[in-house]
């Protein structure tokens, strides 16, 4: 066994030193009625070559966005990852380390997280960011719990324009602590209806949640919602599922958000069929001690040299146990590192240009599709890199089937989440979609008219 150094002979020698006849004696404490009397019923072992062949065969049964042109987004975005990202992130010293409990031999991870926390603050316009949450959806759920810890209120205003899976996760979490979620519909602009938000607000309102760009790709007027929320003494929680938008869209912090969470997959992380992704979490300094998750802080060693450590851990489960601000322990450190590397490569001008590319290509696609007979752009509000298209003749499923025939993976069929939008597709366009691809999409949608 190439992964288990000790041979039979090594083990024998060690058992002699331990002073037992066989390893059986070391398991003698397991009552025999609790023992497995047979071998495990699993596939027999494969050699490395055999495994490689088998896995290639499995993988080849999946489409990948290199073979197809894909217009799927909806919380998972197809962006180009510079080669340097994986070269650095998969340095063994990074990916074979544990959570940096021993700072003297973990300064690499710790400084990188400190840099990540700074980048998240810069992007979101907030004062403090943590070391990462599991993903955007669980980060949002944790934001509700945090808001509840802060003001003790029970009601959450939750627009329907928030990612449906994020809403489900919030529901799953919040219910247990008696939080109640209030749905709020959207207007024809595809944005959350401010009147309805105001109507839902009361002195029982813990927080108002907004996603922007929202699930329909539309940009919400955060400042107005912030004003309304704060007016009712509620907190504003902003979720961002497509973090590339930070490059061109005013930051939630500047618009009055109290907590900003979201999905950072767009930076440094592959689509990975849904995970692992990167939950980011930022808030105001005033709320630090109610914040979930790990935090890295700068400090000094005995010689006065700058160094970094995990800090404010009195918030955490390993100290506070059942009084902790969260149960999170292992998070997604390596995904955060990947985002840090990618953002460092993009930099100040690159991030802006990337966002602009997405904005422009999407505008181009939106205009082109709006001209197609049999289709219309469903909502009128400004969008970033996603928009909703209504198919007047064929069902979205029919449209997508036609596209697949042309090796195009079309948009998400919204009926699966929104019965009233069962004739709609959510189309995402990124820098990975060339103009030719967009034109081919339109051609294929048009059904060769």
């Amino acid at each position: 066994m190439q992964y288990i150094p000790n041979t039979e002979a090594d083990c024998r020698a060690m058992l002699d030193v331990i002073g037992v006849r066989s390893s059986e004696e070391l398991f003698a404490d397991i009552p025999s009625k609790l023992r497995l009397k047979r071998g495990l019923n699993l596939a027999p072992p494969l050699s490395e070559a055999g495994l490689w062949k088998h896995m290639r065969a499995l993988a080849s049964k999946n489409a990948d966005v290199d073979q197809y042109s894909s217009f799927l987004g909806a919380g998972a975005y197809n962006h180009f990852l510079p080669a340097a990202v994986s070269h650095l992130v998969f340095r063994a010293e990074f990916y074979t380390a544990y959570t940096p409990y021993q700072p003297e031999i973990s300064q690499g991870t710790l400084q990188a997280i400190y840099e990540y926390q700074t980048l998240i603050c810069q992007l979101t316009g907030m004062e403090v960011g943590n070391a990462s949450m599991y993903d955007g959806s669980s980060a949002l759920a944790e934001a509700l719990l945090m808001a509840h810890r802060i003001n003790g209120r029970q009601e959450v205003v939750m627009p329907l324009a928030v990612h449906p899976e994020y809403r489900m996760v919030c529901q799953t979490y919040a219910g247990k602590l008696g939080l109640r979620l209030h749905d709020v519909p959207s207007t024809d602009r595809g944005t959350t209806d401010l009147k309805e938000v105001k109507a839902a607000l009361s002195d029982r309102t813990c927080c108002v949640v907004v996603q922007s760009p929202n699930f329909f790709g539309a940009l919400e007027m955060l400042d107005e919602i912030a004003e309304a929320a704060h007016g009712a003494g509620a907190l504003l929680v902003v979720a961002v599922a497509e973090a590339v938008s930070f490059g061109i869209v005013k930051s939630p912090g500047e618009c009055g958000a109290d907590i900003v969470v979201g999905e950072g997959q767009s930076f440094g992380n592959h689509l990975n069929f849904g995970g692992p992704y990167l939950g980011f979490f930022a808030t105001k300094e005033a709320y630090i001690r109610s914040m979930p998750g790990r935090l890295v802080g700068q400090t000094e060693d005995k010689a006065g040299r700058t160094g970094y450590v995990l800090t404010l851990s009195t918030r955490e489960q390993h100290i506070r146990r059942d009084k902790a601000t969260s149960n999170i322990c292992t998070n997604v450190g390596l995904c955060a590192l990947a985002a840090t590397v990618h953002l460092a490569l993009l930099g100040r001008s690159g991030l802006r240009e990337l966002a602009l590319l997405n904005l422009r290509k999407t505008a181009y696609a939106k205009a082109a599709i709006s001209k197609l007979r049999g289709y219309e752009v469903r909502f009128s509000g400004p969008t970033f890199n996603e928009f909703v298209v209504r198919s007047k003749k064929r069902t979205p499923a029919q449209v997508n089937r036609a596209l697949l025939a042309k090796k195009i993976i079309g948009g998400l069929e919204l009926g699966r989440f929104y019965p009233d939008l069962s004739d709609c597709l959510l189309i995402c366009v990124t820098e990975q979609n060339s103009r030719e691809e967009i034109d081919a999409l339109c051609k294929a949608m048009g059904g060769g008219r």
Partner: protein, 504 residues
Amino acid sequence: MKDETIGIQGLAFHEPLLFEQGSQGRRGCSLPENDVPEVKPERLLPKKLLRHDIPGFPELSEVEVVRHFTRLSQWNYGVDLGFYPLGSCTMKYSPKINEEVWKLPGFSRAHPYQPESLAQGALELMFELEQYLAEVSGMDRVSLQPAAGAHGELLGMMLIRAYLESKGSPRKRVLVPDSAHGTNPASAAICGYQCVQIKSGPRGYVEPQAVAEAMDEDVAAIMVTNPNTLGLFEEQIAEIAKIVHSKGGQVYCDGANLNAIIGISRPGDTGIDVLHFNLHKTFSVPHGGGGPGAGPVGLKAHLAPFMPVPVVEKKGKRFVLNYNLPSSVGKVRAFYGHFAALVRAYAYIRSLGPSGLRRVAEVSVINANYLMSQLKSHYHLPYDKFCKHECVFSDARQIPYDVHTLDIAKRLMDYGFHPPTIYFPLIVRGALMIEPTETESRETLDQFIAAMKRIAEEAERDPELVRSAPHKTKVSRLDEVKAARQPNLRWKGKAPGQGGSSAG
């Protein structure tokens, strides 16, 4: 290697923050050509939503970014560099082939919403992995959704809560042994339960007696860790389960320590209703310096109706995602879980097979007992019996010289080793929790033993040498009090050659 210690010093590189380097206009990547009209952003977005700049954001070329993170990486200790006996964390070696398989475009470049017909390979892998984990643990179904162990605990408690609700009442309390990991009570609390601590018995086990006394119709469940955090197998787990079940409660097992019993004993056969796996422990997913891991949850049939959606099912030859579970607890995260971690675990199980997995348990237990038998002579062993995956010592014999567990841990770094887990479990004062795993050779263990013995001697001969350790690392002990008293959690300086400050 006899007299030579592994830990030495070499050239390293000072490296400032990303934000303190570079100069205006630099960039580390090239972007695809813009092949559509150059419309002004003002024409596409309302002015008030437009962002014009992010002052303080990095401006570096590719070579600068590469050097930055290459240098940083060298300040880290990883399993690929040496022995990492972090108790309870099962820091085993991760096979390199697994890092190749998950990167295959068909896995890493697949979109979660792409048509099922174009994701059959991914669904097949998840379907198979569920079967494998069920067989290994003796459970009926497995949810692959949780992102980590604690996430699995939370889902597990949610399943129990939903089940009990369906039986009338969610109940109020959860029993948690004092030896449990902090995530256990925290997870129960987030799930709306009060925690009742169960004191471990003198021999380090959870005593049926104590459970019986605490158990009543208001208790939803008990959370046991087996093998427990002392590295002991809970001999009476079956009796404990019987007691809890008899009062209508459920038994949760923290499976973080499965490595010690895989192929030898299955929690599902010991009365467990729910358990979580840590694929980043038992199943070789690299820990990544703080994740991502994966914490699938195994469950018995009576809890299956409450599983989070979607579940992967096989219809004839096709694999499908089933969202239609009316009593489901819902979702604990978007999409399907940490798929890339699942791929690694699947590959690991396929390479080891039944015999290989059993060997993992055997050798990890032999290694742990070998360490224990050799270190007894120099360190206090509070619970002196054969252990499973790990052994727990304390600093009791060094305290007279005013040398504490933390000092021993730091001094180990100078010898080239990562320290064990320290001060956990809480029931052992000054605990040194040592888990070697099966991927360490006898020679490595002998080197570690030699270092530990030398440190014990140093503690008597030259305690200050130990108290002032580490001496060979890039930085010495860091001021954690300062870090907590005056939190500095982000860079706020002024970027080189940039106008603005870093205020986003």
